[in-house]
Homo-oligomer: 198 residues x 2
């Protein structure tokens, strides 16, 4: 049985997306085939128009509609704190808490020598520049709690230390709702180290 | 923090797809944002061109590039057997086994009164026509092993019975690699009913 070329082509494209296997790609394609022309065109237009509507802020390197971005030009934000994250989605996750009102700096990834990502591939130089030039009091290193994230945090901390700025990192420990019994050893060790008075 | 409109729009469109939640939609969008323009355009074109390249065969109602489809016009296939399935992907799954060389008939879904899908919404009338007019010896009911699938199979069997054609259905029992201990009661009951001599 021959699958129509256009179906095969789209299933193939969907299959390139992360976390979408061959079966899911076929199912998504077939789902769209049953949708109205307007719905399908809506998705096609959204994909085609994605990049045209996005700039990367030349200050914080976050995705935005303008350059500099609305966060960097927001005068109500605390300009003395910079939160360093790996990716734009990390900055969004932090901002969604509503608990942080400082500025951001997006590194654009984490150090990963095996993937050819060294310090030069990340936006570290511009961070050093911001800390030197601005009235920055504290830099919060909010990289992922993975090996790459920790390595990146260490490297960035090493670069910023000589500037005399206060460097902090996100708390480590049990996630809210987490079960002590099922937590891994390193998480429990970090939680013990990071214990606070009751 | 304001997410660029084009990012929000695409994440929204991805989120409409089955099995893709809000987080996955954001991650897919962000993944595309880091891809080259050519890659993004490839996906956009594939979505936009999906429907233009697909017809539905007027005989078997399967998706195809031509009407009638290559399967229906293939003279090397056994024209005395019709395998009835719910959706085009089911026909593909059967054909991928290489073990079936007859024709297909795609119903276009399964009976589901709550969703407003009655016998008139499915391609049942045309199946009756094919069985009446052609040299059909056997009809294999290969609907899903779900409640809707079983109901649909019963209904179709009732419509075909008067025509004197042989009506069969796919075997029920333990899937290959299946563990008796973890199989549900109905599956075990069906496996017992469908037991064969060793």
């Amino acid at each position: 049985m021959k699958t129509p070329r256009s179906v095969e082509k789209l299933a193939n494209e969907f299959g390139k997306l992360p976390g979408i296997g061959q079966k899911t790609a076929s199912r998504l394609t077939f789902y769209l085939l049953k949708k109205s022309d307007v719905d399908v065109a809506g998705l096609a237009d959204a994909v085609a128009g994605l990049k045209a509507g996005v700039r990367f802020c030349s200050i914080c390197h976050n995705m935005a509609e303008d350059d500099p971005c609305a966060t960097c030009t927001d005068t109500t934000r605390d300009r003395s704190v910079i939160c360093v994250v790996e990716e734009p989605l990390d900055a969004q996750a932090l901002d969604a808490t509503g608990g942080y009102k400082g500025l951001y700096h997006v590194l654009g990834g984490a150090l990963s020598p095996l993937d050819g990502i060294g310090p030069e591939q990340l936006n570290i130089e511009s961070l050093v520049g911001r800390v030197q030039g601005d009235q920055v009091r504290e830099v919060i290193l909010a990289t992922n709690a993975s090996l790459e994230g920790e390595t990146t945090a260490s490297h960035v901390a090493g670069r910023l230390k000589p500037l005399g700025v206060k460097i902090t990192r996100l708390g480590r420990g049990l996630p809210v709702g987490g079960d002590l019994e099922y937590a891994d050893e390193i998480t429990i060790t970090r939680a013990l180290e990071g214990r606070s008075e009751f």
